[in-house]
């Protein structure tokens, strides 16, 4: 099952079609798209710069995806994460899960995002409209969300 790290934007419809197109055994597809918010904790955000650890990122994403495939009856899954500079409103991350029934697809998509946020080595730096910048701090709530799958 594929994972990708890329600078370019992604097209949700095209990615979904490429992943599951033509298959008759899939009754449920969940797609999650994460986008750059224009404000974070009251700060205006003009852009985000995403840095990652090449090699480790892909390995971690593949292991998270393999864990989801083992835990839920998924026919297919895809994770795409962008790196580089993104502006408010741009896509950052795409998760697609496909299964015979919806519950597995919904749950696995949440699991993939929760684990991605706490294990995959990506870091966000925010740029404000006045040109200031600061690294985004990890949220305790993200750890809590990942812990519920243990």
């Amino acid at each position: 099952m594929p994972v990708r790290v890329q600078v370019d934007d992604f097209d949700v419809t095209a990615e979904t079609e490429r992943l599951v197109g033509g298959r008759k055994d899939i009754g449920a597809i969940v797609t999650f798209t994460g986008r750059v918010r224009g404000e974070d904790d009251g700060r205006q955000v003009a852009a985000l710069t995403l840095e990652h650890y090449p090699g480790m990122t892909e390995t971690e994403m593949a292991s998270i995806e393999a864990e989801a495939m083992a835990r839920w009856p998924l026919q297919a899954a895809l994770m795409v994460h962008r790196v580089g500079e993104m502006k408010a409103g741009d896509n950052i991350v795409l998760v697609i899960t496909a299964s015979a029934h919806r519950s597995a697809a919904f749950e696995a998509a949440e699991f993939l995002m929760d684990y991605l946020k706490t294990r995959a080595p990506f870091w966000k730096k925010e740029t404000t409209p006045d040109g200031g910048s600061a690294w985004v701090e990890a949220r305790a709530g993200d750890e809590d969300a990942a812990d519920r799958w243990r």
Partner: protein
Amino acid sequence: MATDAKRRVRLVYFAWVREKVGLPSEDVELPEDVTTVETLIGWLKQRGPGYSDAFARPQVVRAALDKVHVKPATPLGAVREIAFFPPVTGG
């Protein structure tokens, strides 16, 4: 572990750890008494103000040995690449 062999490793830094240290990566020779992630952090902290700033709160800095997440007490063993970075914030 053979104590006669010099242990050369690559250190890599990400996000604000990289900015504070002032380097994306470097090759270093580890002293014999540096055997775990936390003893390595202790050694790095003494290498200059950028390092002491980056590792001022060592409990906040995360580490990976050969691209696998590890805890501070993890032995370095025959590792080749050690990464230090803040808690991850992707997604």
